[in-house]
């Protein structure tokens, strides 16, 4: 305990502590947060947690050990345990900004606004150069209705990341809420110039154009929004570092799906194969791999995957539909027709199957029946 801390303590408390063990008594090692009620868990996650728990127990004064355990819990959706570990890490090493950052993120996601704000302010004080902390503080303050302070936080973000869409969109929202629609439009246009796939900016700009009495421009933006399926994730290295700890099959699945949505097919494919090496019957991985192979015109591989999907879950129209598209792409029209009919039997409202079947009949109707 530092001399300064001693001065802050009242004399009575100081005497009490001396009686209890004195200032030289070692501080008790923090209890390592672990599951009270073990649950079935992904074995890879369980192993990672066991190792990190052992490391924390072996190094009770190590903020890094507790912080690492916190990241593993956090990445695998054991949020409360993660927060408890981060809190211990922050106590052991108050100068490191990572731990309050993660605590702020968790608090913000759970609606604990006061705590989240305090944590993010602590981070910006410890590391004023970490831009995402300013953006998260801005987002939080905006949710709390503190527009002026939010605006200042986004300005700090933009000073560190000039032209960063995160900050531009934040300021655009503030301008919208303040009735400064022209300014909002200008900020959101800049965000879209920087990041054309930014769905949020496209939508907000559409609403802003609508409110500015520019319905045609608005409709164009709404169409762009509806057609954009990739999602823009602003860079946040600390969060990405935490996410790396999601090493179980289900954590990998989330990552792979996110990569697929972002159009990063090769990276997604590698993860799906990794998942299937651990869980060979994982339907979603099979289907999404089939999708990747189909898009990349690797039809033999795609067909094998879609057939596997149908085998795993014959009642799912999705597998039959993917198989049908693959068969169409390889001119196996009769087999494709069978699969499309099966899709419509399982899901009479399946617009895609209906459209493909109509097209098939229009283009190849005469040939159907003789096709193997």
């Amino acid at each position: 305990m530092s001399r300064r801390r001693w001065r802050l303590l009242g004399p009575g408390l100081a005497v009490g502590m001396l009686v209890a063990g004195g200032c030289d008594a070692p501080r008790p090692a923090p209890a390592v947060p672990v599951f009270q009620e073990p649950e079935p868990m992904d074995p890879d996650v369980a192993r990672a947690i066991d190792d990190a728990v052992a490391a924390a127990r072996a190094n009770p004064a190590s903020a890094g050990a507790f912080g690492r355990l916190g990241r593993i819990y956090h990445a695998n959706e054991f949020y409360d345990l993660g927060a408890r570990c981060y809190a211990i890490a922050a106590r052991l090493d108050p100068a490191t900004p990572d731990w309050p950052y993660y605590l702020g993120v968790l608090a913000a996601e759970r609606g604990r606004g006061d705590e989240a704000e305090a944590r993010f302010r602590e981070v910006t004080r410890l590391t004023p150069g970490y831009a995402p902390a300013w953006a998260r503080l801005g987002d939080l303050l905006l949710v709390r209705g503190e527009r002026e302070e939010a605006s200042a936080a986004f300005d700090r973000y933009l000073a560190l990341e000039p032209g960063g869409p995160w900050g531009l969109v934040g300021l655009g929202k503030i301008a919208r809420h303040s009735g400064r629609l022209d300014e909002a439009a200008e900020l959101l246009e800049r965000a879209l110039d920087v990041e054309p796939e930014h769905r949020q900016a496209a939508y907000l700009l559409g609403v802003t154009y609508r409110d500015l009495g520019r319905p045609q421009d608005a409709d164009a933006l709404f169409a762009r929004f509806a057609e954009t399926h990739t999602s823009f994730a602003p860079p946040d290295p600390w969060i990405e570092r935490m996410e790396q700890e999601a090493t179980g099959a289900f954590g990998l699945m989330r990552k792979a799906n996110a990569l697929l949505r972002a159009g990063r097919h090769e990276e997604a494919e590698a993860l799906y194969w990794e998942i299937l090496s651990r869980r060979p019957d994982e339907y979603t991985a099979v289907v999404n791999l089939g999708q990747v192979c189909l898009v990349q015109r690797r039809f033999d591989q795609a067909r094998a995957l879609w057939e596997r999907a149908v085998e795993l879950r014959p009642v799912e129209p999705h597998g039959h539909y993917g198989l049908a598209l693959t068969l169409l792409a390889t001119s196996r029209f009769q087999a494709a027709e069978t699969e499309l009919n099966e899709v419509l039997r399982l899901d009479p409202a399946h617009a895609g199957a209906r459209q493909q079947l109509r097209k098939l009949h229009d283009e190849h109707g005469a040939r159907l029946g003789g096709q193997p």
């Binding site: 079935p40 992904d42 054991f78 609606g111 949710v143 709390r144 809420h177 929004f225 339907y283 409202a349």
Partner: protein, 559 residues
Amino acid sequence: MVRRTAWLVVLLAGACGDPATEAPAGKAGAPLFVEVAAEAGLNFVHENGATGKYYLPELMQGGCAFLDYDGDSFLDVYMVQSGRLPPDPGTDPGGNRLYRNDGDGTFTDVTADAGVGGRGYGSGAACADYDRDGDVDLYVTHLGPDVLFRNDGDGTFTDVTADAAVGDHGYSSSAAFLDYDADGDLDLYVCNYVDWFPEIERDCFSRGGLRGYCSPAVYDRPQLDTLFRNDGNGRFTDVSVEAGIRASAGTGLGVAVADFDDDGDTDIYVANDQMPNNLWINNGDGTFTDEALRRGCAVDEDGRAKAGMGVATEDPDDDGDWDLFVVNLSGETNTFYRNAGEGHFSDATHELRLGMVSLPFTGFGTSLFDFDCDGHLDIFIANGKVRLGDSMREGDYGEPNQLLRGSASGVFEDVSAQAGPALALGEVTRGAAFGDYDNDGDVDILLSNNDGPARLLRNEACVGRHWLTVDLACPDRDRHCIGALVTLEAGGRTRRRQVQPAYGYAASNDPRVHFGLGEIASVDVLTVTWPGGRTERHIDVPADRILRLTEPGGTEAGP
């Protein structure tokens, strides 16, 4: 001019006492709501049939209704049971319960006599006088065929589903009666959720490998909603295709109806779970177009399609149009869509301080209503998880419900902690019905807990404040004049409400219109716009009464 007739008189004991200047809400230190289900005789316990297979419907069910089935002016209670899963509507005994309000704060189970035990795996209820015979009928939604009970007017009901042709076979959640074609009878909109059957169930896990319920997106089988047109002869026709509402499938859970674009006909808003919400704009020719995206109420301001559960529509900012409040999943904020006029919405969630308070919870039932009679609409949210929380204990899905107090500034304040232990029970609440079951001038709350007991929250918060409840009757239309508007001018403000018992989640609510008046003991002008468009005005209407008005002629009765 107000004419008096002897249509019906309900004289209320002065439950709200004398007007008091700046009276606080409720008695000092007393809870704002008191849970009285057991002492009132509501012994219903919902069963979800969970067997450890994590079937999607298990965690979604729990519907309830306030309705006055026997016409005695006291709200009765209907609780929807689920039961065995997968269900067998052919053999499963019905577990729904109808409780008659005895008028003294207690209820009697009259299910057997009334014949409304039902069948199958129930979801929710919608109540209205669809056959225009002066009593309230009952539509019960299910996983599987829905059921329409016709009120025979003698305390019994008859299952007329087949004759009426309204047995929607989807996985129905919420439903609403509305007169979309303005022909004077009530049509029926049924929200369908997911095309679910046991064979499509999947194994879903958290990142850490904990088994849990799947999100609806996993199935990728959103189900088409259904619109039934009332043919006026006891039968309905499924007009979903020709009306255009089959243009998109959604995971519909909540429905709210109103004239959102203020063009004189009734539109339909559907809250979808993890999909963009629908705003079906009535084209006035029997067709609808989904304009939610361009009108700004499909997604939140970040462009995210949230997990829409329940939805309520009212006009809390008194600007003469219908705003929307949609409750969502934990980790997402609930969303308040402010109508800026003619059905153009903006996300005003954060401005109204509704964001941060909602992040920890998953909302289902909800209402915008004036719980403390101070003249400003408040919000109740019935919460309960759909995924495991921090405790990671199996079955631990309970959450406290929330009460948010509205204010003149428009901002809402979380007053759940002051509401008393009734709100902190931490159960898995789904449906919530709102109504004044004891006719004392405040709005009480009926809760349906998933796999748990029903709760009845008696309101104690209006002490010392004035109120006015308007009960409309349309002998030539439906009993409660669904679609009618009531506009109240008092204290320099103009407020508008509509008659529409369908809102929230899987619930049917008190069809009477309630206004909290605060210190105002008399209403300057009360205007009723009947469903046909005719209006009538009433001047200097005294407060603290249930005012009954009958079309035509604007018949007033009362003390």
